[in-house]
């Protein structure tokens, strides 16, 4: 009796989960399937199955606009994301190492300051930042998007790495010091390799956030040859209009592929990163 009851609830729970799952991903599946439909069929075909299958949306959409193709937008996005990852990993791991494993004067107030800046809304600093970058002649280059990443501006990652580095046994440093290692060597040869999972997590989140970013990219990039995928898509909507949903959906689908691939390969790190941020933070 009891067993059939448990089996029954499990069945109902699966049923609800399947229904919710379908509702959740249906819009994405629909976008994907629409990207292979003829423009006139997108709104007439019922369901996901296309009455006529075409690759034209991808071929014509890829050509982009005003002579700038999506190949260029993708390259630009990969460049900005890649540089952001390098910058965040180097600078945040250095700051985390200092906060987690070294002692120096004013460490506590500086740490407090870092936590405080994590809470500060971006909008408070955005206008002076823009003015500074403009005066430096950096507007319309990638520098405003990349340089701050080399100065550990994303406190979240410092915090994540501190949590991780604190758990590495202190005895390891002492042994390394006895063997004649300096702090730089301990950081580079000992702590960084051991903190690899935290670094991977930071790299993944940096990639996803930079790839999805729209606001700062829109603010600083206004030449079409500098455009990232976000800006390309946005402009594509204005240029080709709502009459061309097929191409829009094709390019939108492609724009999600890198993030989705990262998710498939590094799911474990993503989940751990979110959990660590939530439970320990």
């Amino acid at each position: 009796m009891n067993r059939t009851k448990t089996a029954g609830t499990a069945f109902i729970r699966h049923l609800i989960n399947i229904a919710v799952s379908i509702a959740m991903i249906y819009p994405l599946l629909w976008m994907f399937s629409s990207s292979f439909k003829l423009p006139q069929n997108i709104f007439t075909d019922k369901g996901l199955w296309s009455s006529a299958f075409t690759m034209d949306n991808y071929i014509l959409g890829w050509k982009g606009l005003s002579g700038a193709s999506f190949a260029l937008f993708f390259r630009n996005s990969f460049f900005v994301s890649g540089m952001s990852i390098v910058g965040n990993l180097i600078s945040c791991s250095m700051a985390a190492y200092a906060f987690a494993r070294l002692s120096f004067k004013f460490k506590a107030p500086l740490f407090g300051l870092m936590l405080l800046t994590m809470m500060l809304p971006h909008h408070v600093t955005i206008i002076p930042q823009y003015v500074i970058f403009n005066k430096l002649g950096w507007v319309n280059t990638y520098l405003p998007l990349i340089v701050p990443k080399f100065t550990a501006t994303e406190g979240f990652f410092i915090f994540l790495m501190i949590q991780f580095m604190r758990n590495i046994p202190q005895e390891l440093d002492q042994a390394a010091t006895v063997d004649g290692c300096g702090q730089v060597q301990i950081y580079w040869r000992l702590i960084l390799p051991l903190a690899l999972p935290a670094l991977v997590t930071a790299a993944i989140f940096t990639f996803i956030w930079t790839w999805n970013d729209f606001f700062s990219q829109m603010l600083y990039l206004s030449k079409i040859k500098n455009y990232t995928v976000s800006l390309g898509l946005r402009t594509f909507l204005d240029a080709s209009g709502e009459s061309n949903w097929g191409r829009l959906f094709a390019m939108s689908t492609l724009s999600l592929v890198p993030v989705f691939a990262i998710f498939i390969f590094f799911q474990k790190f993503l989940i751990e990163g979110i959990t660590a941020g939530g439970v320990k933070g």
């Binding site: 729970r13 699966h14 609800i16 989960n17 919710v20 799952s21 959740m24 991903i25 819009p27 994405l28 629909w30 976008m31 709104f43 180097i90 600078s91 250095m94 700051a95 200092a98 906060f99 070294l102 120096f104 460490k107 870092m114 809470m119 500060l120 809304p121 971006h122 909008h123 408070v124 600093t125 955005i126 206008i127 002076p128 823009y130 003015v131 701050p148 100065t151 702090q183 956030w209 790839w211 999805n212 970013d213 729209f214 606001f215 603010l219 976000s230 898509l233 946005r234 709502e242 390019m251 939108s252 689908t253 999600l256 989705f260 998710f263 989940i271 979110i274 959990t275 939530g278 439970v279």
Partner: protein, 296 residues
């Protein structure tokens, strides 16, 4: 203490901290003070800021209908979107928690929208889903219901964006799942012995032990919801329309600062946003003493 001595003692620490110190000075502290100064000035990008005292703030608080409108839109988004998203996240986490088969697959599916949610692609998709001929109306037509253009109607446009937020419940859900796993099983067992049913267990064990995590999720979501921008911008084509119904606070700030180049005015808006977020966070912390239970 002589400087050389100070450096010998603390040099390595500051060496590793150097990038961060440069960053916090150049990209945070100096801009924060500059922003405060600019907010008391008339500043249009070209030339230098001209001090006008409290005029920007006076104008915003007394004579600016767009400000009041954008604040209303944003409050509605935060006060409806955040609780709905968290409730959904908790509900699904509860359902997945009790060792359901295929947990990893469900968790992945529920998380995918959070992964894409902030992107332009999804905002474009949303624009279509809730358009006059969109998928939502196709669905309604199956039941004989004649839909409207949800994104072009002032009464409904904001709700489509709130729905987009709720759709991204995956990230707080994962945090809830981790929290649920940390609740010791014997607490449920002793509750069972005391004769507690499913609801009593939920209300007396699960919720109280989960309050620190509910609180954490709430704070994080409130802070980020106040700063939402991309969906409003893309769905309304940058206008915040129809009839300012999706004029999010950040969108209005952007229009003032970077479209009409009233940078002093926009800076004042930014400081008001900071004060509002700080007030909400403080309020949450103060009331939390009443409902958040930390294990002793």
């Amino acid at each position: 203490m002589r400087p050389t001595h100070f450096f010998k003692q603390n040099g390595t620490g500051y060496l590793f901290l150097a990038p961060w110190i440069i960053g916090i000075l150049a990209f945070t502290l100096i801009p924060v003070f500059a922003s405060l100064y600019i907010s008391f000035s008339k500043y249009e990008m070209f030339g230098s800021p001209v001090w006008i005292g409290l005029d920007n703030y006076k104008e915003i608080l007394t004579g600016d209908e767009q400000f009041a409108k954008s604040l209303g839109v944003t409050f509605k988004y935060v006060l409806l979107g955040v609780p709905l998203e968290l409730a959904f996240a908790l509900l699904i986490a509860m359902m997945l928690h009790k060792g359901i088969r295929g947990l990893r697959l469900y968790r992945a599916i529920y998380y995918v929208p959070s992964l894409f949610g902030g992107s332009v692609a999804i905002s474009l998709l949303w624009r279509q889903l809730f358009g006059a001929q969109g998928l939502v109306n196709q669905f309604l037509a199956m039941f004989g219901i004649q839909g409207i253009s949800w994104i072009a109607t002032p009464e409904t446009a904001l709700y489509t964006i709130i729905l987009l937020k709720v759709w991204q419940f995956g990230s707080p859900m994962i945090i809830f799942l981790a929290g649920l796993q940390q609740i010791p099983n014997d607490l449920y067992e002793s509750a069972s012995i005391d004769g507690a049913g499913r609801w009593a267990k939920f209300a007396k064990v699960t919720i109280p032990l989960l309050t620190p995590i509910i609180f954490f999720n709430m704070i994080m979501q409130i802070i980020s919801a106040f700063q939402a921008f991309t969906p409003a911008y893309v769905i309304s084509g940058g206008s915040g329309g129809p009839l300012n119904s999706t004029l999010f606070y950040t969108l209005y700030l952007y229009q003032k600062g970077f479209v009409s180049f009233q940078m002093g005015y926009a800076s004042a808006l930014a400081w008001i946003l900071l004060i509002i977020i700080a007030a909400f966070t403080t309020l949450a912390f103060l009331t939390s003493k009443k409902w958040v239970h930390y294990e002793k």
